[in-house]
């Protein structure tokens, strides 16, 4: 009975192809809109996460002062090398730690000059920042220890200063001293904040301290943690250790900040999530409207087919059999709309993701949910017309013209 009712419903839908399609259109658009919005939203979130993780994996950035971003508050004392060694020795969750000093400077090579960021750090800097070398090598132990004038440059710096030339072995002038280029970084492109990550010059920490900043201060620590699950614990331990080392009493606030990349991701993707939710909600309203469209057509259909219903009832169809027939018809219509909507959404998402340069992530949950929701709309909005059909008086229905 159920199977034959299903066939009957399909035949009824085929009988009025255009009308059935127009009836479904509301659901099709609703489902397609919801899925596309959510899929693109997820893609955008993923893109942000990817960009942030390109900063470095399981990365903690420790800066003096409480403010986020560049320009730490001046009152907070900077870190010293002893802090670095203490963290390395007392927090076993830390895999590597790169102390850094950073300055914005103008560098010169031949007749060209370029303003960039010069960072002094150790070889650990490459690991914590997920940097690979495109050519050349990292700093040698002697270079690090002796604070020799060598540097590794980013792709943007190479392009601006050397054009098509191979920079290895050549030198750049930084604040009156000459510095040999020993390595070239693999390009990473824009960061999540929109800055050019390749616009950078790195040299050994000691070199930068001695020749540029002129002090033993360390302006930030980039710490790579053993594994992602341990980030919070590592963060807690480092905070405790630094509070102790910086003589902060229990009722004082930290005078340094520990930022992890997950926090950055969350901050950046919260906007995207809000947008996704809003757009998804708007799209869901169109699903509801689609449901009302189905109810409308089903009511028309019941009126049109009053005589048929009368015949069925006279022949001995039970109330619930007629109810089931019309209900199934509505559900088949709406589910079919859902399936078409999913196909449309898949095509639209892939196309739009390509145009917007976002990754396309197929989300089975939202597809399944949308499909079930569209079927549920069929039940919800099909029930009233179906009940109306089932409760017709067979005599009146047979007399209906």
């Amino acid at each position: 009975m159920l199977w034959s009712t299903l066939l009957l419903a399909l035949r009824e839908i085929r009988r009025n192809v255009l009308r059935s399609f127009l009836t479904m259109l509301g659901i099709v658009i609703g489902v397609a809109a919801v899925i596309t919005m959510v899929t693109l939203g997820k893609g955008a979130t993923q893109a942000i996460a990817d960009q942030v993780s390109s900063l470095g994996s399981n990365l903690l950035i420790v800066r003096p002062g409480q403010r986020l971003g560049p320009g730490a508050t001046s009152a907070a004392p900077p870190f010293k090398m002893a802090d670095v060694i203490a963290i390395q020795e007392q927090v076993p969750l830390v895999r590597s730690i790169a102390p850094t000093v950073t300055r914005g400077m103008t560098i010169v090579a031949g007749a060209r000059n370029w303003s960039t960021t010069v960072t002094g750090s150790t070889n650990a800097w490459f690991g914590t920042g997920n940097w690979q070398l495109a050519a050349g090598r990292e700093f040698s132990e002697a270079e690090e220890r002796g604070g020799q004038a060598v540097c590794v440059i980013g792709e943007t710096v190479r392009r601006e200063l050397f054009g098509g030339q191979d920079p290895l072995g050549l030198s750049i002038r930084v604040k009156g001293f000459s510095c040999e280029v020993i390595g070239l970084l693999v390009s990473k492109g824009q960061s999540a904040f929109g800055s050019d990550q390749d616009d950078t010059v790195v040299m050994p920490l000691k070199t930068a301290q001695r020749r540029i900043t002129g002090s033993q201060d360390i302006s930030a620590l980039r710490i790579s943690v053993q594994d992602e699950a341990a980030i919070d614990q590592a963060k807690r331990q480092i905070t405790l250790l630094l509070r102790e080392r910086r003589n902060i009493t229990d009722n004082e606030d930290d005078n340094f900040s520990v930022l992890d990349t997950r926090q950055i991701t969350e901050t950046l993707s919260s906007t995207t999530k809000v947008m996704t939710t809003l757009l998804g909600a708007v799209a869901a309203v169109s699903l509801l409207v689609g449901g009302i469209g189905i109810m409308n057509i089903m009511l028309v259909s019941v009126t049109e087919r009053t005589r048929e219903i009368g015949i069925r009832l006279a022949i001995g169809a039970l109330e619930r059999e007629v109810l089931l027939q019309f209900l199934i018809e509505a559900v088949v219509l709406s589910s079919l709309g859902g399936i078409i909507g999913i196909m449309l959404a898949t095509a639209a998402s892939i196309g739009l993701a390509a145009v917007m340069q976002l990754p396309y992530l197929f989300d089975p949950a939202i597809n399944l949910l949308s499909f079930l929701f569209s079927a549920a709309i069929g039940v919800l909005f099909g029930y009233f017309p179906a009940r109306r059909a089932a409760q017709l008086d067979p005599i009146d229905a047979l007399r209906h013209e």
């Binding site: 009975m1 034959s4 009988r15 005589r307 048929e308 009368g310 015949i311 069925r312 009832l313 006279a314 022949i315 001995g316 169809a317 039970l318 109330e319 619930r320 059999e321 067979p394 005599i395 047979l398």
Partner: protein, 247 residues
């Protein structure tokens, strides 16, 4: 469906009780002064295997009586026993089950499903009985054959003449092997030649399959085919007439 298993047989040994028995059946439509008394105490009984025509001018209550007979409607008062079962006490679904098990309907306007083949139309009642596909198929073929529509199985009503459509309707009515065939002006939309063919078909179904036939008509020459004629007037049975020579 579990309700479908009651067999439609038990025919021969029930001769003591009439198949259909109305006692003091009334039907009142509407209420108060706007109401209308369609039936005013009708007594009638129809036995197994009978062929009865119901005649009367319009408004005489013959259609109302027919609707009650077909369990499509219930009496306002009085009782209707079908095989000894008081129909007025059955609910909507029980009456539907009774219809699908024991009754077959033929209407004036044929009432076939449009854009549906003859075969599918005939199979429809079996579908509701939950019969298997192959069984439905065979029974429908046999029913179409018995009304002389061999080879028209895949025609839709639009492709058939009025007489052929009515034959499909009759095939649909008898495909379940009902006790009673109820025909409401079965020849009302047909020309006289076709009308006589349809009446001959009904007669042969009555004779050969033993199906009790109850038919409403306003044409005296169609009523001639029946064994008995019940004349209605003003919501009451006016007189009974026996046609000789048919037994």
């Amino acid at each position: 469906m579990s309700e479908n298993h009651e067999p439609a047989i038990m025919r021969s040994n029930q001769t003591s009780i009439p198949l259909i028995e109305f006692s003091q059946v009334t039907k009142y439509y509407g209420s108060g002064t706007a109401g209308f008394q369609a039936l005013r105490g009708v007594d009638l009984s129809i036995n197994e295997g009978d062929f009865v025509a119901i005649m009367g001018p319009s408004g005489s209550g013959k259609s109302t009586a027919m609707n009650i007979l077909g369990c499509l409607d219930t009496p306002t008062s009085g009782s209707y026993l079908f095989q000894g079962v008081p129909v007025e006490q059955l609910d909507r679904n029980q009456r539907a089950l009774l219809r699908r098990t024991y009754l077959g309907f033929v209407f004036q306007g044929f009432n076939l499903l449009a854009r549906t083949t003859a075969q599918e139309n005939v199979e429809l009642p079996l579908l509701y009985r939950g019969e298997k596909r192959s069984a439905r198929h065979q029974a429908a073929q046999a029913a179409l054959k018995s009304v002389g529509l061999d080879g028209f199985a895949h025609h839709t009503p639009a492709e058939l003449s009025g007489g052929q459509q009515q034959r499909v309707a009759i095939a649909r009515a008898i495909v379940t092997r009902p006790q009673v065939l109820l025909a409401d002006e079965p020849t009302g939309n047909l020309d006289s030649l076709t009308s006589h063919e349809i009446m001959q078909l009904l007669t042969s179904l009555n004779h050969e399959l033993g199906i009790t036939v109850v038919m409403v008509t306003h044409e005296p020459d169609m009523a001639e085919y029946a064994r008995r004629v019940i004349h209605f007037r003003d919501g009451q049975v006016e007189r009974l007439q026996h046609n000789g020579g048919h037994d």
